[in-house]
Subunit: 253 residues, 2 copies
């Protein structure tokens, strides 16, 4: 394995341990952490003590929990992203104008990763924030971004994509997904309904690199199907979303 | 050193390398990364290759940059925090009602760490987001949280606090900071103006653990001094902020 040759195994294991702490596992004993990260107890114990010494974990005598300090590992990256600095205020203003939730996402194959999430004041929204990942083919943002890839990169996506069905509408055939990606690339927008959650629809447009014309991010409005018909979505949302994407593109130059 | 005995040195070094990528250093050669993280070039190269193999870094032939995947290291923690899930929608609603920026922060001595940041539509706000850290004694949130510590924990803070002066109003004498902390604990609110930035004032109230009565977080409204006088801040903001803090406390029970 490449990682055995060039990598540093305890660093890999430490990263696996950090990832093992999640929404379902916020506090773990050494044994639980070892099991969740696929490590021996001895290895897990050494890594947990390292996290504690560095201020990333706390130990109450029985279980380890992470501390707010772990945010520094990813947030320095996020706050340095021009897309975040430029995109966040634009998304916020658009969310207020439309009274809908606006997101900006980027591609990390096989997923879309949310960078910006501007909530509307409506109560209904999925519990996602920056860093949340969803399989790219289940998201209108993802289809837009996949539509801007070179053929070889797209083939790489299809080698990794998770064919799990989330709802009856989730596409699980490669041909079906390729047709959706092609349409998104051709149309310059993508509208999906009920793919991740039955009652939610999403409309996305690309944010393009002005030099190369590629989609470097997607701007998304998610809305409830009870509230907004597809026709309303196109007529009302699309022009505003394209203007917002253009203002981000201009500021990124 | 404790860390030599129990820790895993390459994990420590890998974490230092991740932290070295920041707002000022988004792309680094191996030599730059080694220098920034205090490592030898050989050690930095192995760790950077590990990050690349694990999908956390990209290499363009010359420089390494991090990928959106690094967000998973801190965001799983953030999204699992009850304070985040409960606090974010409350902060958002308050920001809309007041048309001011609302934040929720927690203590990680010697700093306050932002967990939630709900922007108002006004253009003026500091560029901070979740994970941003500021020295606790320079923030009304920090003084509220320090005011809820046991004496021994407070002494531990004073062993580590950075005595840097940010503006003419930044307190740099221990006695002065202790008096501010005591007042915040006694009054149940803290109002600071011009401590981090000349034109910004902040008002904070505690969010308390109902069982123990301790401040586990602080809710903050930051506002421009040109816009809102201290008298207006107290009359208009404080009752709304206390109601918001109570609704968070009730939901956390």
């Amino acid at each position: 394995m490449t990682s055995r040759r060039t990598g540093v195994q305890s660093f890999e294991r430490g990263l696996a341990l950090l990832r093992a702490f999640g929404a379902e596992r916020t506090a773990m004993t050494t044994a639980e952490a070892a099991s969740a990260a696929g490590l021996t107890r001895a290895a897990a114990r050494r890594l947990l003590m390292t996290l504690q010494e560095q201020g990333y974990a706390q130990f109450d005598g029985k279980r380890y929990t992470l501390t707010p300090r772990v945010l520094e590992l990813g947030f320095a990256w996020l706050s340095a992203q021009p897309l975040f600095g430029v995109g966040e205020p634009v998304a916020k203003q658009l969310a207020e104008r439309l009274n809908e939730t606006v997101s900006i996402g980027t591609l990390d194959i096989p997923d879309v990763v949310y960078l910006v999430r501007a909530l509307s004041s409506r109560a209904l929204h999925l519990r996602v924030g920056p860093g949340t990942r969803i399989p790219a083919h289940t998201s209108s943002m993802g289809l837009i971004l996949l539509g801007s890839l070179e053929p070889a990169q797209l083939d790489a996506f299809f080698k990794q994509w998770p064919r799990r069905r989330y709802t009856d509408r989730t596409p699980v055939e490669e041909g079906e997904v390729r047709a959706l990606i092609e349409a998104a690339g051709r149309d310059g927008y993508c509208y999906l309904r009920g793919v991740m959650e039955d009652s939610i629809a999403g409309l996305s447009v690309p944010v393009r690199d002005r030099a190369k014309g590629r989609a470097i991010a997607a701007l998304n409005v998610s809305t409830s199907l009870q509230r907004t018909s597809p026709e309303e979505a196109f007529a009302k949302l699309l022009p505003e979303m394209r203007a917002a994407a253009q203002s981000i593109e201009a500021a990124l130059r």
